[in-house]
């Protein structure tokens, strides 16, 4: 492995967490809901264990970052690992990242209904 510092503000800890990688999986939006597909097992990296514990219920990427006290970018890297090995699945938001996708009236009506019932 080439050892290069990761650009994450606190290099030492975050280097360890990500194994020196700095490229995150961009498919994970802030509000992508992550679902664990297995229980943590022996020998797993502690951050992976924690994610799998949290994701016994669907959990948004941003909530994972807050709970792990790690920057979003780092969490995306960790999620990429778990996704690649089939340990999690991801429920991505319906609204795409591009500004071209506008919410339709049916979706907005559902949102309005939910808010009014608060």
């Amino acid at each position: 492995m080439t050892r290069r510092p990761v650009d994450t503000g606190a290099p030492d800890r975050l280097y360890t967490v990500t194994g020196g990688r700095s490229r995150a999986d961009d498919s994970f939006d802030l509000v992508t809901l992550v679902v664990g597909e297995c229980e943590p097992s022996a020998g797993m990296q502690s951050e992976h264990v924690r994610i799998l514990e949290l994701c016994r219920h669907p959990t948004a990427v941003v909530e994972l970052a807050a709970e792990l006290a790690l920057p979003i970018t780092v969490v995306r890297i960790l999620l990429g690992d778990l996704l690649a090995t089939g340990r999690i699945t991801a429920r991505h938001p319906r609204l795409g990242q591009s500004a071209a996708t506008h919410p339709d009236t049916a979706l907005l009506q559902e949102v309005l209904h939910g808010l009014r019932n608060l």
Binding site: D7, D104, E110, L112, L115
Partner: protein, 212 residues
């Protein structure tokens, strides 16, 4: 919580750690951003409507640099850390809305453009004692094409008490942008702000679907 967690160890029980997990049916995350200057009441607004205590997180942004430092080395990158807080509203079994409180300063917008793409819309929170803070946010949202409403968080010690018409004029806000009063501390008021925004989004979508 439901029976689904009954066989999990106590240490991993989300309720035991103070977390309120989503239901298993949750499948669609949505975003609304609250922008405004420091101390305008963003966190207060998020807290008043959120079903969870607002959580804090941060993003580290690395920008490809163009500079050359004193030693003649090309400085490849600059790193900026931006913190933001957020809350959550479960709209129904399947849909969950996340509210992000984000400082509106100019130097952070490169980050918002990326982090908050795909948002439904934005709330610009205004403190009339410091209206300057709002201009940049409004300008940027207009430019970005993100629909928004402006909510004036009324502080008790605001002696001037400008009317909404005066504020609209001062902000050079077009008539099509909803402008309302709010008290960020009050849940019903915060809820009204969100309903006003989503109603506005609905009208926009309706107009667009009607005119193909």
């Amino acid at each position: 919580m439901g029976s689904a967690t009954s066989d999990t160890p106590a240490a991993a029980d989300p309720a035991a750690s103070g977390r309120t997990p989503l239901t298993h049916a949750a499948e669609t995350g949505l975003k609304i951003v609250v922008v405004g200057g420091f101390g305008v009441g963003k966190t207060t607004l998020v807290r008043s409507v959120s079903e969870i205590r607002p959580l804090n997180t941060e993003e580290v942004m690395t920008q490809a640099g163009v500079g050359v430092d004193e030693t003649g080395e090309v400085t490849a990158k600059t790193t900026t850390t931006v913190a933001f807080d957020f809350g959550r509203i479960s709209l129904n079994e399947r849909m969950v809305l996340y509210l992000f409180g984000a400082p509106g300063q100019e130097r952070f917008w490169f980050l918002w453009d990326r982090l908050f793409s795909g948002t439904l819309g934005a709330v610009v929170l205004v403190d009339t004692r410091r209206m300057d803070d709002s201009w940049y946010a409004i300008d940027r949202l207009e430019h970005h094409g993100t629909p928004f409403v402006v909510a004036v968080n009324r502080f008790d010690d605001d002696a001037a008490r400008h009317s909404l018409d005066e504020i609209r004029l001062a902000l050079a806000l077009p008539d099509r942008v909803p402008l309302i009063d709010c008290d960020a501390r009050v849940r019903t008021s915060g809820k009204h702000v969100l309903v006003t925004l989503v109603d506005h989004l609905y009208q926009l979508a309706l107009a667009q679907e009607g005119a193909p």
